[in-house]
Symmetry: C2
């Protein structure tokens, strides 16, 4: 491990030692089921309550507006499926319409396709060649039947920051208009903020967000835990049924260990990550890396907007060098990167995000996502810049296309 370099923080992050320390008592003595009435249960619930408060504080919401889930995939599924389920029950006669973007995570896109099978109309908004949703496109797409809009905060592949607050403003105006016009259909604005929590303002009221998905393992917390912010009064139903946990929106024994970890992870983001010094540090390292790559490797490019982008992310394409091969050769040198999202790993199809941005297939195939993090050091950047160019050169020499 000592000599290895991890540049895949968008796939997952190491658990921060402070997070692990907070989790340990719950892995040992504080093992009670938070739903139990006795002191073991109360002790566990006390921990859960503190974590819920820490996260609520970070999002600027009420603690009771937070639902703990097994991760962002579950949160996203509750959003897409649970809103339609609840709306169909309340407005059985209405046509329903969802707006999302072509560059969302599969945890949004797949449930949307499922809803299409069930008769729901779904609009998949295009993006600019820089990987950004146009606010005007959202506005134009909204109809009287639109019930939910789901636009990710930060894209998981190219790291672009979407105009969430602006969309939130439009949604608010449409809601007001509906009230005046007597259209009772709710309009619910969701954002998958998994890749945003580390770097962006997540205050739900400032953004005009009704639902927000977050994940533990992308923010130096454990895997297997996530949360869903649900604005009070939002029309939504559970998809996982059973006990009465989490306001009836999510049945199942509370994952105390994960919840404690998530709470501490969010607290640390607030304390460490989002300081301007740390944001600047990561941005400077990333910019150094980008500059070095573009300068030393011909026919290389950065995909996605350079400004509206989280400081940790960069995403390259190298002509005539296969992304998967670059990844494997870097791995042999002890450097971990990815070609796209880990969730689509194993698939040889070019990334749906790059295709939506209009990146040609042959360019998309030579893509590499390099994502830095809290523990990235300057020397890691130098090592990468030393090792990558000869790898690309070698692969190009081997390539049948010259």
């Amino acid at each position: 491990m000592r000599t290895k370099i991890y540049f895949d923080h968008s796939a997952t992050t190491p658990v921060d030692p402070e997070v692990l320390k907070a989790m340990m008592p719950y892995l040992k003595d504080k093992f009670g089921n938070a739903s139990s009435a006795h002191s073991f249960g109360q002790e566990a619930m006390k921990g859960v309550d503190s974590a819920r408060e820490a996260i609520a504080n970070f999002l600027g919401c009420e603690p009771k507006e937070l639902i703990f889930t097994s991760g962002a995939t579950e949160s996203d599924n509750i959003v897409i499926q649970g809103v339609i389920k609840a709306t169909k029950e309340k407005f059985p006669e209405r046509k329903l319409h969802i707006i999302t973007s072509a560059i969302e995570h599969p945890a949004i896109l797949e449930p949307c396709r499922e809803m299409e099978k069930a008769g729901v109309l779904v609009t998949y908004l295009p993006v600019t060649e820089k990987g950004l949703v146009r606010v005007g496109d959202v506005e134009k797409a909204i109809t009287d039947d639109t019930v939910s809009i789901s636009i990710m905060y930060v894209n998981n592949e190219v790291g672009t920051i979407q105009p969430i607050a602006e969309i939130g403003g439009i949604v608010k105006a449409v809601k007001d208009g509906r009230q005046k016009a007597g259209n009772k259909l709710p309009l619910i604005f969701h954002t998958d903020a998994v890749q945003a929590v580390n770097y962006c303002n997540c205050q739900v009221n400032e953004l005009g967000i009704d639902l927000m998905s977050i994940s533990g393992h992308k923010i130096y917390g454990p895997k297997g835990i996530g949360a869903l912010y649900v604005r009070g009064g939002t029309l939504i139903k559970s998809i996982q049924l059973g006990g009465h946990q989490e306001r009836g929106i999510r049945a199942g024994t509370l994952n105390t260990i994960g919840i404690i970890g998530l709470g501490k992870a969010v607290e640390l983001v607030n304390r460490k990550q989002s300081s301007s010094a740390e944001l600047r540090r990561i941005k400077e390292l990333r910019d150094k890396l980008v500059e070095g790559v573009l300068k030393t490797i011909p026919e290389s490019q950065v995909n996605g907007d350079l400004e509206k982008r989280v400081p940790s992310n960069t995403h390259f394409s190298f002509l005539n060098a296969e992304g998967e091969s670059i990844l494997l050769m870097l791995d042999l040198e002890g450097i971990a990167v990815s070609t796209g999202s880990a969730c689509a790993s194993g698939s040889l199809a070019p990334s749906h995000v790059l295709l939506a941005m209009g990146v040609p297939k042959e360019v998309a195939h030579g893509s590499l996502r390099v994502t830095l993090g809290r523990f990235t050091k300057e020397k890691d950047i130098y090592k990468f810049l030393k090792i990558l160019p000869p790898i690309i050169k070698k692969l190009r020499e081997m390539s049948p296309i010259k």
Copy 2:
């Protein structure tokens, strides 16, 4: 903690120190996303594969027949909802019928009620006054439209062991008959084995099981992790959509920490718990506790079959003493018990399990579940037998009903 006694092992168990030890590397250095192609990912997947093999070995199935979930509630939901979803798609013209029992966990009963809303017929089988499903009732309930049968292996409140192998035999005969008769509808036999893993034979082929739910935190593993055994070829669909993890049946980043913990927990059950010496030890402690209670407390009874029962469980009713009050007074003395399942905690309604057994409401209200475990000592039993009788006496003196 030192002086506290934990008698609520059916609600949750402490994490075994050996389980925690196995998890630690994955909470530290081995943090990769198991879907990542680089060595961090491969290292995580290697751990996942070992855990999957350990569990497959315990169930006598193929590793690829195991799907990791966030817990038994999710597993149960996939079973009830996922089988109906897949069957409806394949046999859109057929009526569908589910058989279950009146004493199942809410994670089965609630999804069943949801399926009823969607037009599925559900039979809730009654149980004997000892809390046992009658095999003959299952046989009689099966029709040509029956697609799934879900009977829990061990009841979570009264600890009764259901006749799973016998039901498995009947299901097999019906399957054979359907094949001959040209009825193409699948018949899928599921058991929620959450409370059985510690004490019962869980070899799926010996039992004739097609789907089996298990949970980490009931077997000295962590919370937030479970598994679902899915016999190869079973007609079932995902309810949580997204990435391609777990054969497409369960999307979402693999919870490596939880999976490693579950694998080790199952391995320990195999090595420690299921030894005849340990089973005998727990049974002797439980029997001593039961004998002591019945001898020293008048108008007390044990609910549920005395023989067909896991060795860890006992469940009392005390006339004219409120269960919740007994629980709280025991808690003040440092003894943790429960009145029923933790998942239904907070509800004042009498247990659906006891009502199905024909226990009168006033008797049900005076109920106490006492469940022993791996770390229970003989002196804990003596302390309980010393503390409980004066509590019951006091509560009865306070009771308006004499």
